[in-house]
């Protein structure tokens, strides 16, 4: 089966700065994938190259089996919604009408519903839109396009919690009816965690994690207690982020814990707190550097 998105050895260099460094990933079929990472990690650059808005310095990108660069047949089946999108000076209604001409699967009904949900002012010029309204407009276009490949780059900048929840609900509802490949980059990892089937983490231009979201949930745990107890519990396990204040210590251990582990924790009087996806992602560089397998065998 041809991957929907296939990226191999992708590199993007800006003068002396390496924005993407030998990134390889493949996304097959309809799914919602989270692209996570810190500011400047290379998320936007990766999405722009996938959408052929930027050029690669090396490696290859294929979308729906072909290179997207100057490929109208691929590009009309893909939409990229960017936080920093420059908009033409048009009324919002005109802009949505123009968008509808470009996408063969455009849903006017969905666009109308989303405009009402997000209170997007159709008669206002894009110059007069607040940040939140611009974001909402991007969401309307990204979802109503029903493109086979939908890329959202930080799609909820400026939206309040209620509007963000509305976005998650509408996206999931439409995804259930019209499955497609959605790649979404975000900082609000825990908020989006339940949506994600797969997690990609980029750090300083390198792909450092590519896992199914279910495999990551409970994949690491913070152990807290006295220094001795925590050390005893962590013995033989991959561990990182060791912290101690006086007689108390905490550290993060990787691996799914079983009943025996929990019994040991009770015996040692240490508390176990599973890492959320956001905490896990924050620890990913440390995790990858700590080389869990090596630690386990030590």
């Amino acid at each position: 089966m041809t991957p929907t998105i296939s990226v191999s050895g992708l590199t993007r260099r800006y003068h002396s700065q390496l924005a993407l460094d030998d990134v390889t990933l493949h996304i097959n079929g309809p799914s919602i994938t989270g692209l996570l990472g810190r500011n400047g990690a290379g998320k936007t650059t990766l999405m722009r190259i996938i959408a052929a808005q930027e050029f690669a310095s090396g490696g290859s990108v294929r979308v729906l089996g072909s290179s997207p660069v100057e490929n109208g047949a691929v590009l009309r089946r893909m939409v990229l919604v960017r936080e920093d999108q420059t908009l033409p000076r048009l009324r919002v209604g005109h802009l949505l009408r123009a968008a509808s001409w470009f996408y063969p699967n455009w849903s006017s009904g969905l666009a109308k519903g989303l405009v009402a949900d997000f209170n997007v002012p159709l008669n206002r010029n894009t110059r007069g839109l607040s940040r939140g309204m611009r974001t909402a407009l991007g969401i309307v276009i990204g979802l109503a396009a029903r493109a086979e490949v939908t890329l959202f780059d930080e799609p909820y900048a400026g939206l309040d919690a209620v509007a963000r929840q509305l976005f998650y609900d509408r996206m999931l509802r439409d995804f259930a009816d019209h499955p497609r490949t959605i790649l979404i980059s975000t900082h609000l990892i825990d908020e989006a965690a339940d949506l994600l089937e797969r997690v990609l983490v980029i750090d300083r231009g390198r792909l450092v994690l590519d896992e199914a979201a279910d495999d990551l949930r409970g994949a690491a745990t913070t152990v807290s207690g006295t220094v001795d107890a925590v050390e005893k519990f962590a013995a033989g396990r991959a561990a990182w982020d060791r912290r101690s204040i006086g007689s108390q210590a905490s550290m993060v251990v990787s691996g799914v814990l079983d009943d025996d582990d929990r019994a040991l924790a009770r015996l040692l009087h240490v508390s176990l707190t599973p890492l959320s996806l956001q905490q896990l992602v924050a620890h990913v560089p440390g995790w990858s550097n700590s080389d869990p397998k090596e630690n386990q065998s030590a």
Binding site: A52, E54, G72, R76, V79, T86, R97, A98, F102
Partner: protein, 225 residues
């Protein structure tokens, strides 16, 4: 609907800027000149018609500098975006050029709108039969639009620094050219006779527009947004 047509329609989604804008500004300039000519009570060979060319230059900048990123976000290829935009420029120039030619006919028929105002007739450039005026206007408006597209593309590719370099480069080339031609006393050989004909100017504009069109296509191929 082809990708070119979609791009042209995208520009025209709000038709005011492209259809109404140049004519509104032209009408304003015309009324001012009409009042001034009437007050002066004599012939007024104004060059205020240039405002419509300036408008086309501005539309060219707008069509790429402002509208290109969203156009590419909608899935247009650079090639289709450029071609659609250039076709729109040619269509607008043809239609507006025809309008200018017809207004020139009206101006002649009314002896300068009754006050000897020569607004739509510009000596040596737009002074021939209506169809030559139309052709010259069409070529000139297309040239200015495509010239504006260049500014938009350069801004998108190399940002403000690129724009400054582009402007400085043009000034330098023109200065060098003037010095070289002036030293050789060869203005006629450089394409300028001192009694230029409309057809000769049209041919020069046409050649320049063709060069800019082809060059703009090459520039657009590596633009990023």
């Amino acid at each position: 609907m082809t990708a070119w047509i979609k791009v042209a329609r995208y520009h025209m989604a709000d038709p005011i800027a492209y259809l109404v804008g140049p004519w509104a500004i032209l009408a304003f300039a015309f009324l001012i000149n009409l009042v001034i000519t009437k007050a002066q009570g004599g012939p007024n060979p104004t060059k205020a018609l240039a405002v419509v060319y300036v408008c086309f230059f501005g539309l060219g900048i707008l069509s790429t500098g402002r509208s290109l990123p969203f156009g590419l976000a909608l899935g247009a290829t650079r090639r289709s975006y450029y071609t659609g935009t250039a076709l729109l420029a040619a269509a607008l120039a043809a239609a507006d050029g025809l309008g200018l030619a017809l207004l020139q006919l009206a101006e002649r028929a009314t002896h300068g709108w009754g006050v000897a105002l020569h607004f739509f007739e510009v000596s040596h450039i737009l002074a021939g039969p209506w169809y030559v005026t139309w052709l010259t206007s069409f070529v000139g408006l297309t040239l200015l639009f495509v010239y504006g597209i260049w500014y938009g593309i350069i801004y998108r590719r190399w940002h403000r620094l690129g724009l400054v370099a582009f402007i400085v480069g043009q000034v330098a080339v023109i200065r060098v050219w003037i010095v070289v031609v002036d030293r050789g006393h060869n203005w006629g050989g450089a394409g300028f006779s001192f009694t230029p004909s409309a057809m000769r100017i049209t041919a020069m504009f046409g050649a320049l527009a063709a060069v800019l069109l082809i060059g703009g296509f090459a520039l657009m191929r590596r633009v990023t947004v």
